[in-house]
């Protein structure tokens, strides 16, 4: 069982997964886009502008999920000192930053027809901007510190402190008066979104998760090669 987690086995598994995701991704993307842009109904109040939800909401979910994942893995890394965990967090961070930016930009575009403005410093938007900054700091630390261990320690502290921001983003719509509406989809309790909109939303979320997995696996593979390349220099001397 432990052999399964060995890098060489992981490497083969990563290659197989990349091939598998590549083979199904475009078909699923086309189906998800068809539902999001054509088959799903317009909203009774927002009309067709509600379709922005199909990229905005999954992007926001992924950005929150990625940061929570980074913070939890950083805590685990502090406790168990598992080398692979820092590679995983380093590979997830750019994906999280990308989806945070997508959520902010698409949210801003959605704001114009819905609220009449592209930008407002309301609680949720501000906390999302802070999340983007936390991602930027996390990535910058890894980029500018030559010492991997030091970079890992500092970035882990940033991730753990930044974890406080996640419930603030989630509950900002309840704690403060904001332009955002309260959540329509609830894990515990009844969701207020109709199934004809929920299905395309979940489908788009699944496709974007597949995309994240693809990028993550490629980044993780790159990190493994980078480390092996560094190790090669020992033989060269």
């Amino acid at each position: 069982m432990l052999n399964f987690f060995h890098n060489s086995y992981l490497f083969v598994l990563i290659e197989k997964l990349i091939k598998f995701i590549n083979s199904i991704f475009f078909v699923l993307l086309l189906i998800a886009l068809s539902f999001a842009l054509i088959f799903s109904p317009p909203d009774y109040l927002q009309g067709d502008s509600v379709r922005i939800m199909y990229v905005h909401v999954p992007a926001a979910w992924i950005s929150l999920g990625s940061f929570s994942c980074i913070a939890i893995l950083s805590i685990l890394n502090f406790i168990f000192k598992i080398k692979n965990l820092k590679l995983i967090t380093k590979s997830i961070a750019p994906i999280g930053l990308m989806f945070t930016c997508i959520a902010i930009v698409t949210g801003s575009i959605w704001g114009q027809p819905t609220w009449g403005t592209f930008w407002a410093w309301d609680a949720r938007i501000t906390s999302m901007v802070i999340l983007a900054l936390l991602y930027l700091i996390f990535i910058a630390i890894h980029k500018f510190f030559d010492d991997d261990d030091k970079a890992n320690k500092i970035s882990s502290i940033v991730a753990v402190i930044g974890l406080i921001n996640i419930p603030i983003i989630k509950y900002s719509v309840l704690w403060w008066n904001t332009l955002h509406q309260p959540a329509s989809i609830k894990i515990t309790g009844t969701s207020t979104i109709h199934s004809s909109m929920l299905m395309p939303l979940l489908l788009m979320f699944f496709v974007l998760i597949l995309y994240c997995a693809l990028i993550f696996l490629m980044k993780y593979k790159t990190e493994i090669i980078r480390i092996k390349k560094k190790n090669l220099k020992r033989y060269d001397q």
């Binding site: 490497f11 959605w110 490629m218 980078r226 092996k228 090669l232």
Partner: protein, 77 residues
Amino acid sequence: MINNLINMSGYGIFVWSSFVITFLICGLVYYKTRKTLKKYEKEFAKEIEELSAQQKKIVLKNSKIASKILSSYNKTI
């Protein structure tokens, strides 16, 4: 129907720009990530080739992953 799809009751500019921006960013990140991966694979293979026959043999014997990277690179060229 095509007109309705493009216009989206006047919201077309907002909806389409959101989707185009999202998938353009996703496409660019995919392209850049893939390019970096290929670059590292190529550099790794090049460095292995530059080692002496004996060193190369030791590296491939000691590191299963090195041989996997090399075979993965050879498959793509």
